[in-house]
Symmetry: C2
Subunit: 417 residues, 2 copies
Amino acid sequence: MSAAGPEAPTVVIVGAGFGGLRAARALGRAPVRVILLDRHNYHLFQPLLYQVATAGLEPEGIARPVRAILRGQRNLEFRMAEVQGVDLDARTVRTDAGDVAYDHLVLALGGETNFYGVEGAARHGFGLKDVDDAVAIRNQVLRCFEEATLEADAARRRALLTFVVVGGGPTGVEMAGAFAELVRVVLVKDYPRLDLADVRILLLEASSRLLAAMPPRLSAAAADTLGAKHVEVCFGAAVEAYDGSTARLRGGETIPARTLVWAAGVRAAALAGTLGLRTGPQGRVAVTPTLQVPGHPEVFVIGDAAWVDDGGPPHPMMAPVALQMARAAARNIMLAVRGRPGEAFRFRDPGSLATIGRRAAVARVHGLSFTGFPAWVVWLVVHLVQLIGFRNKLVVLINWAWDYFFYDRAVRLITRR
Amino acid sequence: MSAAGPEAPTVVIVGAGFGGLRAARALGRAPVRVILLDRHNYHLFQPLLYQVATAGLEPEGIARPVRAILRGQRNLEFRMAEVQGVDLDARTVRTDAGDVAYDHLVLALGGETNFYGVEGAARHGFGLKDVDDAVAIRNQVLRCFEEATLEADAARRRALLTFVVVGGGPTGVEMAGAFAELVRVVLVKDYPRLDLADVRILLLEASSRLLAAMPPRLSAAAADTLGAKHVEVCFGAAVEAYDGSTARLRGGETIPARTLVWAAGVRAAALAGTLGLRTGPQGRVAVTPTLQVPGHPEVFVIGDAAWVDDGGPPHPMMAPVALQMARAAARNIMLAVRGRPGEAFRFRDPGSLATIGRRAAVARVHGLSFTGFPAWVVWLVVHLVQLIGFRNKLVVLINWAWDYFFYDRAVRLITRR
């Protein structure tokens, strides 16, 4: 079956996110046997997850079976399994479906929501890192509207209709913008008996500006656009506790809100901290500039779970980093197979984008900053192109076109009780 | 807000399935206030549920928010609430969101899977009546394939790859046919390491033919078509017990199978049996020919939950009956509002259809029986036309076209653990 011979070294890749998938593909013609492990049977396009949370896309539109993506790759075997640990000395990955031996290991574990230990936030708030999170938010928002129509008490009704987004990074900004459009464009028509003045969407940012990685001009533009969409953007606002009905800010202010989405931080997946490897900022595993674990050159770590300990700041936890690290790790594995030393990873920043709704976005691409309609078009094209699989592109494009022309969000279903 | 005056009588409709929704619409211009209750916020197009279970459609494609469907109806209010009981004397429906008073009540409760008390079937088998059922089946089938790739023991692997469908009615026939295509058309490509000879799909029917409501010629055609798709159709096969790994048939034969889908029966929703009303076959509430509860002319029962106690056989539990009863009940309510007696319900059978896969179906329409490609085209058109909402039609059509031309089932994701 395999293009590689029986004596070919085995490369085990843990995780089928952006990094793991790219690494698997980059090794497609290499004289190695690749075993890709993931606890899900699909690859998820996380950048559009907030659109699932705001009823714009169905989860199936942004997920694609790993076996479908990698069907043509002869040297690859996919196994759906939950990784429980790694025995570095025995060179074995332990999973719930048995042990898997490796010659080279690529850990592409990804990230998870970082609640920073804020009291009650993990328990009562919503993260936004996987399909379940997104569907849970969608259910919650729609259920709050349903309950609000039946709630006679004005204060309780306002709490049901107050939605707090914590964190003014790209995820928080996109989430708040999409929320605002869902409410003002679609839900007002669904709930004619509700008073729109009762609906509040707050975006809380602890620092003094949004999108810290963008030029100040774009940060200001994002805040203005959100304000025009009736999002209350609050700076210097740090959440200290949340109990499911009230958020308490540092300074003592309280906000009655039944829904709180936590978009204030990401850290490496918990598994990264259990491997007995040295970790750094955000729980990320320390690696050399060649992305190898010191003392274990056969182990590579890439993406959100990796911290290149070279004295510089950690790389941002975003897809472009994971994709570029994946290519670098694959290249270094191929060099190692041929007995040659690896090359240092160098990140080339392609820029960043955030959309804030209809015809509104901010973009920094190859040094150019722009906003409004042009940025929105760039955002659309970039995301469509990167989405894996022609069918997913088609489904997402149709959904976008439909919602754009009909001012609709069709997927507003409350599922899973 | 309402088109009806404040003194207009209140019609409460319980259930937003085919019957409830149609009744609500039929009262759109009547001088009444309509309150529609459902525990979900969406209407589900149940006839295509088996395609969700077999990874052909996403749930969102066959569900549509009730508020979106009925947005234009001025005399209607929708409330998402779980009905807990009815106080017939006080004319009040009790729900988890408070009591709702009525002048006229339409109970469109729908049906649920009838396991006939077969030992273990309800616990270990899968019904197919709502979105959760369908997604659970999809997850189970795909997970069995994933586990089978990692299972070294041959007997256990075969049990993982044996899928039993119980009941040779339309649901069982369509399910088995779609299963067979999913496996032979798509999954063989996903799992090149699995031996297809290990995969068995069995359709167990207790009587001596499939599709008992169809002419014998169509029953035979359905069995032939399924056979050609490698479905093992077994007649005289009644399941007596299922423990999650082995099905035991009457007569003692056992079938090791990790998946069993129960399509052998439907009964009225459990709520129907808790209202203190007289029930008949399949737990359905006995009503007069005018669809009213004897002694409570203000209460109507329609669809799967209704049994017209007129000496004839009960109506089949299918959408056309529910739709026609809904129109009849709405008409009788309008007559009652004007102080006039109701008219007896008479069912006009439009025929029935069952599809068995690519270019294969059986159809009995207005007395005409036909099979193969023409029946398949009729099936496609009828289902697309009946699907509510233009967007859903579009989404389903694109999915069908995609799967047809590319021999694909794109929605093969394992979600919800």
